[in-house]
Amino acid sequence: MDVGLFGQYVMNGLMLGMMYALVAVGFTLFFGVLNVINFSHGDVLTVGAFTGLATYLGLSAIGVSWAPAQVVIVLLVATTCMAGLGAVIARYLVLPLKAAPALNTLLLTLMLGTVLREAVRLFYPLGANPQRFPPLLPTTAYSFGNFTLRVDSVMLLLAGLAVIVGIHLVINKTKLGLAIRAVAQDEETAKTMGINFTLIVLVTFAIGSGLAAFAGILHGLYYSEINFAMGLLLGVIGFSSAIVGGLGNIYGAIIGGFLFAALQTIGVLAMPFASAYKDVFAFGVIILIMAWRPTGLISEKISERV
């Protein structure tokens, strides 16, 4: 295999890994504070991407056409809206079922995902068709032999990296992060220490959902296309990445995301004749990993309490 093409695959894999990692971090944050899996997370991502697209169209309509301003505003609006949506989901749908069996929360978030997905399909103009996402970043490209380095991909990767570093700092260096970690470790004790449990849960859901919106915009900018069903796939893969890294462990989730992208890329590289089966391969690997390590490669620290 020639080096240039290999580089292209690596670049592609890194981009995918960044998206998976961002989604996985959301899953892991939610699981940390509430011990629930929010299966609607992937669809929040879709809604975030569509919000971004709508914002862009709105900006163009009122005459803002300076690309950097557009990118910043699109990102701000999408992440803020999804953060709000995440908090609303936590407050009115997930928290009321806190005492119910795990199956109920599972079903509720699955159905919420369906509702969000269908809402995009039915209520976004022509939402059933894939939508073109505008190239907001400079499209200059440098060629090195077979390898084309696009400036926008590098910018996206750096932005993703910056967000991940930012999350790391928030979780480890701020008072808010301390509270989130406290709630994740022991809800009761955290409460007795004067931490506002509900508020922390809402903030955590807001952060996670904002990350999902960011990942959605990343997806749109990189592939120049978004569709109503993209969240389902990204959600399941993101969740699997979180599991592979061990739920509740943020670094595990990031590693899991990149590991998963690597697996997918290797799958395509190793079996070019079967590239149509790349998603079949991905889901097959998920099932195998679950069979091999039922609670993830780096498993949860605390064993299940009876």
Binding site: P96, L106, T295
Partner: protein
């Protein structure tokens, strides 16, 4: 004499409600105008709420609990009555057959969700395995068609056994993800695979038992024709009766007791010496078998199948049916399937929005009435047994 009268008094609310529901369903199916259908639906909800308010539901429930066999017969007669009323209406008979087939499939899921507590979000995938088995077998082999029903079930169970290891080793969220991944994998696989027809799907032969073509209309005399779907309704009812009896007996038996214990507390059940692995495999395999049988029958009735029939959304609809009916209650399932299949088909306005509405409905149920429309009653060890 007085004993007969006492029995009649117990049966009366059940029979009365069955007659009322039959008439109501006939009306609902016969009416065409959207406004009239909406009015009928509202009237139905009001009637049920009123009956519940004035204790009618409790009495009807008693009829079912105490005279289950008699009531089963009444329900079968009611279905046949509705079938007879619409004997030449293809669309409505197709709807009825679909409801019957979905109930069979959901009985399978009910074994998994409702009794053993094994999660399966790939119901439509196992249904699809049954469908594709029927398609391949009818086109390429001369296997008798009644055996194909069994073959569909067996194939679904075999495909399900691929998932047994991951499902056994994982719990709650984790095992949910295994089945979700399988549901997505199954549909993508069908779409990219050329041997099974790819995205275009496959044609399926109609059922043929001992030379009797199920897909021909039945002609009696000169100008009396019965739509061919009646054949499938009859076969479907027979399969349903067998499946229903099987599930009921299983629930009542020591096996059902073990499954319940497993669902309620796995650790405690293991402490009492129950073999968790064995019962999980039993419930998962039996459930997939029933779903597969339903799939095979469905494929032969439709005559054509495509991957779009087996999406993750369809799996979620099956789960919604279970939840709406009341997890673990086969009767609830019948009611829920009837509502979820017939209402969107009749009320065309909401057809396009059905996934959205079902999703919203399930969310509301989970928030406000998590036990479903007809909550599962206390288990009865013998037919007609009453806690004194």
């Amino acid at each position: 004499m007085s004993r007969a009268r006492a029995m009649f008094a117990v049966l009366l609310p059940g029979i009365g409600s069955a007659v009322a529901v039959t008439v109501y369903v006939i009306l609902l199916l016969a009416v065409e105008s959207q406004a009239a259908i909406a009015a009928l639906l509202v009237a139905g909800v009001v009637a049920v709420l009123a009956a519940a308010r004035f204790g009618g539901m409790a009495r009807i429930g008693r009829s079912f609990a105490e005279r289950e066999n008699a009531m089963n017969l009444v329900i079968i007669l009611a279905v046949l009555a509705v079938t007879g009323f619409f004997y030449e209406d293809h669309f409505i008979l197709l709807l009825m057959a679909t409801v019957i087939i979905y109930v069979i499939a959901c009985l399978g899921l009910n074994l998994q969700f409702g009794y053993a507590g094994v999660l399966n979000f790939a119901g439509a995938a196992f249904f699809g395995v049954g469908c594709y088995t029927a398609a391949v077998l009818t086109k390429n082999t001369a296997v008798p068609h009644l055996l194909i029903l069994v073959a569909g079930g067996v194939m679904a169970a075999v495909v399900g056994s691929l998932l047994i290891l991951p499902v056994l080793r994982t719990r709650s969220h984790y095992s949910a993800v295994v089945t979700i991944a399988f549901a997505l994998l199954f549909k993508i696989f069908l779409e990219v695979n050329d041997t099974l027809g790819g995205p275009q799907g496959l044609p399926v032969d109609g059922m043929n038992v001992l030379g009797w073509e199920f897909n021909d209309d039945i002609e009696i005399g000169e100008n009396f024709e019965i739509a061919f779907y009646v054949n499938y309704i009859v076969v479907g009812l027979i399969v349903l009766a067998l499946a229903f009896t099987f599930v009921r007996r299983l629930e009542r038996s020591w096996v059902g007791l073990n499954l319940d214990a497993l669902r309620l507390d796995e650790t405690a059940a293991a402490c009492f010496g129950l073999n968790i692995t064995r019962w999980k495999i039993t419930a998962f395999t039996l459930g997939n078998f029933l779903t597969g049988v339903a799939g095979a029958l469905y494929a032969m009735m439709l005559g054509f199948i495509a991957p779009t029939n087996f999406t993750f959304g369809d799996s979620l609809i099956l789960v919604s049916i279970i939840l709406l009916g009341g997890i673990g209650n086969p009767w609830g399932l019948v009611v829920a399937t009837t509502i979820l299949i017939i209402v969107p088909e009749k009320l065309q306005v909401i057809q396009e929005y059905r996934f959205l509405l079902f999703g919203a409905m399930v969310i509301l149920i989970l928030l406000f009435r998590p036990e479903g429309l007809l909550p599962r009653p206390l288990r009865t060890y013998l037919p007609g047994w009453q806690p004194k």
